[in-house]
C-alpha cells in the first residue's frame, strides 16, 4: 500500500492561511549557493527576491528522471547558462551555476563517458563558478571514477568544487570525499563539502574545507539545529543553502534561518557570514563572481524603463497580487 491514507490525513487537516513575517531581516541581502531553480516556479523567484535573495548558484543535478542520452545533458547544461539565467534575471536575481555529472548518473558508464566529453564546452562559460554537484550517492566504483575525473577537470580549470555528500553512510562518504579530493591534488579551500550535519562538520572544518549546510525539512538540517551549529563552531568557512528542488523543500530557507538566528541572539555580522559572504568568498575563487552584477542584474535585465517608454527590457515579469481572487 502506498500513500493514499497519508494524503487524506495530510489534506484533511485545517488549512492555515497566514503570511510569513520576515520583518526581522528586512533589508538584509542573501546568497543561496545551492538551489535547483529549474524545479521551481516563478512564485518562488518572486518570494526569494522579496525576502532579500540577490544571487544564487544552481548546481547541475539529477532531474528526478534518469537521462538516456548525452543530448539531454547538453540541453540541461545549456538551460542552466541560458533560459534559467534569463528567467532569474526577470526577478532581479543574479544566477550562477556549477556544472558537473551528478553521482547517481555516474553509474550509467556508457552515458557518463559521453558526458565527460561535453563538460569542457560548459565549464569555461561566464557565470560558471565551479564543478558541481559531484561526489557520492551509493559509493560505487563508477561514482569513484567519475568523481576523480571531475576533480582533475576542476584542478586544470582552476575552479572550485561543490561536493554532494551521500544520504546513506554519510559520515564515511564525507570522509572519503575529502580523502579523494586531497589525493587528486585539490587544496581544501577550493572544495565546498555540502549537506553537512552535526556528525560531519568538525572533521570538514578541521581539515580546512568549506562546510555547507542544507536547510531542508525532514531529510537534511533543520534550522534550529543550524543555529546551534553556528553557536558551537562560529562562522569561519560555514555557509547555508536551501538545495530546494522538486521535493518538499524551501527556497526561503536562508532568509528564514537568518531570521531565526537573529531571534536567537546571533550577531548580524555572523548571520551575514553564513548567509551571504562566505559563499561568495568560496565560489569567487572561480574568478566568475562580481558583486556589482547583483545590482546590475536588477537595473539592466529587469525593471529599467528606457527612452521614457514603459516597455520592460527583456520582459520583466509583472507582479501579480497572490492574495487577490481576481486574475486579469
Amino acid at each position: 500500500m502506498c500513500c493514499n491514507e497519508n494524503f487524506e490525513e495530510r489534506n484533511a487537516g485545517e488549512k492555515i492561511q497566514t503570511t510569513l513575517n520576515l520583518n526581522d531581516i528586512s533589508g538584509m541581502k542573501f546568497f543561496d549557493p545551492h538551489v535547483h531553480m529549474t524545479s521551481r516556479t516563478t512564485d518562488d523567484y518572486q518570494a526569494m527576491a522579496d525576502a532579500g535573495i540577490v544571487a544564487l548558484i544552481e548546481p547541475a543535478f539529477w532531474l528526478g528522471q534518469p537521462r538516456t542520452g548525452v543530448d539531454s545533458f547538453t540541453d540541461y547544461y545549456s538551460s542552466l547558462i541560458g533560459w534559467e539565467r534569463f528567467r532569474s534575471s526577470q526577478f532581479g536575481i543574479k544566477h550562477y551555476c556549477t556544472i558537473g555529472l551528478n553521482s547517481r548518473e555516474a553509474n550509467n558508464e556508457r552515458l557518463a563517458e559521453q558526458v565527460m566529453e561535453i563538460l569542457p564546452n560548459f565549464i569555461f562559460k561566464e557565470g560558471v563558478v565551479g564543478i558541481g554537484e559531484i561526489g557520492f550517492d551509493d559509493q560505487t566504483a563508477a561514482e569513484d571514477k567519475y568523481y576523480r575525473l571531475q576533480l582533475d577537470l576542476a584542478l586544470q580549470a582552476g575552479l572550485p568544487v561543490q561536493v554532494h555528500t551521500p544520504h546513506r553512510d554519510k559520515k564515511k562518504g564525507t570522509q572519503r570525499s575529502m580523502d579523494i579530493a586531497i589525493e587528486q591534488g585539490l587544496a581544501p579551500h577550493m572544495v565546498i563539502i555540502d549537506h553537512n550535519n552535526e556528525e560531519t562538520v568538525k572533521e570538514v572544518l578541521d581539515r580546512g574545507f568549506w562546510a555547507a549546510f542544507t536547510i531542508y525539512p525532514f531529510t537534511k538540517m533543520g534550522n534550529e539545529r543550524m543555529v546551534e551549529v553556528v553557536k558551537q563552531y562560529g562562522t569561519e568557512r560555514i555557509m547555508i543553502n536551501s538545495a530546494a528542488d522538486w521535493g518538499i523543500s524551501d527556497p526561503l530557507a536562508i532568509p528564514k534561518t537568518a531570521a531565526l538566528m537573529k531571534q536567537s541572539g546571533i550577531s548580524l555580522q555572523d548571520i551575514e557570514m553564513v548567509t551571504y559572504r562566505n559563499a561568495i568568498t568560496a565560489f569567487a575563487q572561480s574568478g566568475q563572481i562580481d558583486e556589482n552584477d547583483f545590482i546590475a542584474v536588477k537595473n539592466i535585465d529587469q525593471s529599467q524603463k528606457f527612452e521614457s517608454n514603459t516597455i520592460l527590457r527583456g520582459g520583466q515579469q509583472p507582479r501579480v497580487d497572490k492574495n487577490s481572487i481576481i486574475i486579469s
Binding site: 547538453t74 547544461y77 545549456s78 547558462i81 541560458g82 533560459w83 539565467r85 534569463f86 526577470q90 561535453i118 564546452n121 560548459f122 569555461f124 562559460k125 561566464e126 557565470g127 574568478g287 566568475q288 535585465d301 528606457f306 527612452e307 517608454n309 516597455i311 520592460l312 527590457r313 527583456g314 520582459g315
Partner: protein
C-alpha cells in the same frame, strides 16, 4: 543580392576595430589582439570557443562610446543597423566573429554552429546580433527564424532591434511571426528594422484579429498595431 557586400563589410570591420580600440584599456586590447590572431590561424575551434567565452572578463561590459560621425558611418554602411545600445563585450564578440576565415564553407559553418550549440545567454545575444555579418547568409535564415521562438527576451531583442537581417532575408511567414511575437512580448516597435517596409495584407489580417481579441478581453492595444494596419491599407 546580399544585404551587405564585401567592401562594406570590410568598412564596418575597420570601423568596429577603431571603436574597440577607443573603448578598451591597452592591456585588454593586447589580450584581444593576441587571441584574435590565434582564432584566425587555427583550423579547429578551441581558441575561438575559449576566447568567445572568456571575452567579457577581459573587456568588461561597459556601454560603448561612439561619436556622431561613427554612428553616421555605420548607418550608411548598413542601413537599419546600430550599435548605440551595445556594451563593449558584445562589439568585441561580433568583431571576433567577423575575423573567422570563411573560405572553407563546411568548416566555417561548423565553427559558428558550434558556438550556438553551447551558448551562454549573453553569447547567444551576440551570436544573433552578428547575423548580418556571417558569410553564407542563406545558411542562417532558418537559425534566425528559430531564434524568434526563443523565450529569452534579450535574444529576441538581438534579432529584432536594429538588426536588418530578418527584414532582408525572411519569408513573409517568418517576418509576420517576428512582428506578432514582438507585439506579444511588448517590444519597442520603433527599433525594429524594416517594420514599415515589410507590411503585408496577411500580417494586417492577423493584426486585425489580434486587436479584436485584445478588445474582447478588455486589454489595451498598442498604437503601433493600428499604424501598421493603416500603412497596409495605404499600400494596397
Amino acid at each position: 543580392m546580399l544585404l551587405i557586400d564585401i567592401e562594406r563589410l570590410k568598412g564596418l570591420s575597420d570601423l568596429f576595430l577603431q571603436i574597440i580600440k577607443k573603448n578598451l584599456t591597452a592591456e585588454s586590447l593586447l589580450w584581444f589582439e593576441n587571441k584574435t590572431a590565434l582564432v584566425k590561424s587555427e583550423e579547429k575551434s578551441l581558441q575561438l570557443n575559449l576566447t568567445f567565452s572568456h571575452l567579457p572578463k577581459q573587456t568588461g561590459k561597459t556601454p560603448i562610446h561612439t561619436d556622431a560621425q561613427e554612428a553616421k558611418e555605420i548607418a550608411e554602411l548598413l542601413p537599419g543597423f546600430s550599435i548605440a545600445d551595445w556594451t563593449i563585450d558584445r562589439l568585441c564578440r561580433i568583431w571576433l566573429l567577423m575575423q573567422i576565415n570563411s573560405s572553407d564553407k563546411e568548416a566555417y559553418l561548423k565553427k559558428i554552429n558550434g558556438l550556438f550549440s553551447a551558448a551562454e545567454m549573453n553569447e547567444e545575444v551576440a551570436l544573433y546580433a552578428a547575423l548580418p555579418f556571417y558569410a553564407y547568409p542563406e545558411e542562417w535564415i532558418a537559425r534566425c527564424a528559430n531564434g524568434i521562438r526563443s523565450n529569452i527576451g534579450t535574444v529576441l531583442e538581438a534579432i529584432m532591434y536594429h538588426n536588418p537581417f530578418p527584414a532582408y532575408y525572411f519569408t513573409e511567414a517568418s517576418w509576420n511571426q517576428l512582428v506578432l511575437k514582438a507585439f506579444f512580448t511588448e517590444k519597442d516597435m520603433s527599433k525594429i528594422s524594416g517594420l514599415h517596409e515589410r507590411v503585408n495584407t496577411a500580417l494586417a489580417d492577423t493584426l486585425n484579429d489580434y486587436v479584436q481579441e485584445r478588445m474582447a478581453a478588455h486589454r489595451t492595444v498598442a498604437p503601433e498595431i493600428y499604424h501598421l494596419i493603416e500603412l497596409t491599407n495605404q499600400k494596397i
